[in-house]
């Protein structure tokens, strides 16, 4: 049996096995997963799906809705949240701002401050679904 053939096969097998085992980052991730985790937090898309689940039947089946939030929508983390909102409310198109007739509110301020925000944006509250999720409509001119 040629030694170079054995060397070739052993090299290929070891490098492949090394990279597939490295893929799992066993020393760090395994330890973190089984000894370091105290709470399982759903990903941002799942959280968004759960938050807007009760709102979806109240919205029109097609068309465009506005989206009003009290948070600054800049930055990578907020981009993820914005994409998650659009994903949760499909097949509706979601526009940032209170421009459309129906507006989805995502306001996490204390309840006492919400009326002022709505007044400033010229919006009327149709339903408060809790957890900061509001169904809003534009005030008639």
């Amino acid at each position: 049996m040629p030694a170079r053939v054995v060397l070739g096969i052993v090299l290929l097998v070891l490098v492949s096995l090394f990279s597939v085992i490295k893929l799992t980052n066993p020393t760090e991730k395994f330890a973190a997963r089984f000894f370091g985790i105290i709470e399982v937090v759903p990903d941002v898309v799942t959280l968004s799906d759960l938050r807007f689940f009760a709102l979806r039947p109240l919205l029109p089946q097609h068309g465009t809705v506005g989206y009003l939030t009290d948070r600054n929508m800049q930055g990578l983390e907020m981009l993820d949240e914005w994409l998650a909102v659009k994903y949760a409310l499909a097949p509706l198109f979601v526009e940032k701002g209170p421009t459309a007739g129906i507006v989805v509110g995502d306001i996490r301020l204390p309840t006492t401050e919400v009326p002022k925000v709505l007044h400033d944006s010229n919006l009327v509250l149709l339903k408060d679904l809790g957890n900061g999720v509001l169904l809003l409509r534009r005030r008639a001119p």
Partner: protein, 490 residues
């Protein structure tokens, strides 16, 4: 819900498995090449179901009952059409399968060792895939903004199935085809809800079927040991597993490209009924065009490469005969893609629409773009996957190559196809309106992964099998190689 989900899978899998059985030409038994057929059928299941769902959305609307009835009828019709082939395979015995030279040399300690390594690698990769999917069950950014979002638009369409979907297409990458979104939406429509596990299962199916297809096809065409080595190299490519779990359409595209090249190779290795495997080669090439726009380039390239190889070795008549079978599989899919692009999503992607004659010529004559893209391509070639080309090159130098006459056409065809695809991708980098460095940063890895399983498949067709390399050379074993290769080629 579970019953409907099972119905959704079983209906299409029955059709897909019957079609996949065509890839084993001749009167092989239904059980022969079983793993290969199952892997091929897994991808075909999603491909065919996306087409029936798309067609149903166009003509029938969102009714689930209607969809189930239409698919049941279609399933019966398809099984009826394929019944002569299936009957033939059912009655054939495994003894009809010619024994490849390498299979007669097994029984070595190497095979159990490679099998154990394969088991370890597969279970580790599977675990990793599950962990990544648990961390991001809806997939990464492109899955949320494109593939799964489109599936939601289709599945939640209500009474106006295509109106809002067409509006969506007007906003972002309008002409991306629908194999993955429609495949997922069909499943959701069947069960009447949107289980998160659906896109995860689709992604898992494509990722591990790609590996399974490479292992089983190389095992059949070369040897079992060789197939296991091909599987280890693919499992040892971390990006394949990670990107598979991200739920993008790149791994499904890799699958269909590999499936097409595998089917061409099976046709080349067959002694009769080659048209069946060529039909599957055309069908899977068509599905690649229905998966991503890069698939359209693949269709052109794979047919062009076939013409070069077949005409130079067997003449135009042989190529014409082959094309009859290939077009039977390819044309229906191309018609669907064409209809989608002309009627549903008439917009074009920025890479085409933002090109003007003057700017394109400017980009084509800008040498710095070639240098930047060339450097990135070469760098990626050296590093891609942990084993990468360097380890494969070392392995090639240590073990050597052996090409039977029967495999020569298949290897040349695969090599020209992969080479032309790389040239095509390279030229996209040169003319891209987004800037070369942006394109490199965002898509080079994904373009490589389209071709990587096919490269690995071709590589292991070319190099000596472990069994061949370890067998003592004798005139008798050489004579045996020649006689069996002659049988396969005849």
């Amino acid at each position: 819900m579970i019953i409907l989900a099972l119905l959704a899978i079983c209906l299409m899998f029955a059709i897909a498995f019957s079609l996949a059985s065509l890839s084993s030409p001749g009167s092989r038994s239904l059980r022969s090449l079983l793993v290969l057929k199952i892997c091929l059928a897994a991808g075909l299941t999603i491909g065919i179901s996306s087409c029936t769902y798309f067609a149903w959305m166009l003509v029938g609307g969102p009714s689930r009952t209607g969809l189930i009835i239409v698919e049941l009828v279609m399933c019966m019709a398809m099984l009826g059409l394929l019944s002569p082939v299936l009957k033939k395979q059912w009655s054939a015995s495994d003894s009809d399968v010619p024994t490849t030279p390498a299979n007669t040399l097994n029984g070595h300690w190497l095979l159990p060792l490679l099998s154990v390594c394969m088991f370890v690698a597969l279970s580790t990769a599977l675990t990793r895939f599950i962990f990544v999917s648990l961390a991001a069950p809806h997939g990464e950014v492109d899955a949320i903004t494109m593939w799964n979002l489109r599936a939601r638009f289709l599945a939640r369409a209500g009474e106006q199935p295509l109106d809002s979907f067409i509006s969506l297409l007007a906003t972002h990458n309008p002409d991306y085809p629908l194999l993955v979104p429609a495949g997922i939406a069909r499943w959701w429509t069947y069960v009447g809800s949107e289980p998160v596990v659906t896109p995860i299962l689709v992604a898992m199916l494509f990722t591990f079927s790609t590996i399974g297809l490479a292992v089983s096809s190389v095992s059949f065409l070369r040897s079992r040991g060789q197939g296991l080595l091909a599987g280890l190299v693919l499992l040892g490519t971390p990006f394949l597993i990670r990107h598979g779990a991200s739920q993008y359409a790149d791994i499904p595209l890799s699958f269909f490209m590999l499936a097409s090249l595998v089917s061409f190779s099976l046709a080349d290795a067959a002694d009769r009924d080659r048209g069946q495997a060529l039909f599957i080669a055309g069908l899977t090439a068509g599905f690649s065009a229905w998966t991503k726009n890069e698939g359209l380039l693949f269709v052109l390239v794979v047919i062009g490469a076939r013409m070069l190889v077949v005409v130079s070795t067997r003449g135009w008549t042989a190529f014409g005969t082959e094309m009859r079978s290939i077009t039977m599989g390819l044309v229906p899919l191309l018609l669907i893609v064409l209809f989608f692009k002309l009627r549903i999503a008439p917009g074009t992607s920025p890479i085409v629409s933002e090109q003007g004659a003057v700017t394109t010529v400017e980009r084509l004559t800008d040498l710095s773009r070639y240098f930047e893209a060339g450097q990135a391509f070469l760098g990626k070639a050296m590093r891609f996957g942990h084993p990468g080309f360097v380890v494969l090159l070392v392995y090639f130098l240590l073990v050597g190559r052996r090409v039977d006459d029967a495999d020569r056409v298949a290897i040349r065809h695969a090599a020209i196809t992969i080479g032309l695809m790389l040239v095509g991708y390279f030229m996209v980098f040169i003319v891209t309106p987004h800037g070369v460095s942006y394109q490199i940063a965002t898509s080079l890895d994904r373009l490589w992964i389209h071709l990587w399983p096919s490269m690995v498949f071709m590589f292991f067709l070319l190099v000596k099998t472990p069994e061949e390399a370890m067998a003592p050379q004798s005139p008798a074993s050489d004579e045996m190689h020649r006689s069996i290769a002659d049988r396969r080629a005849s």
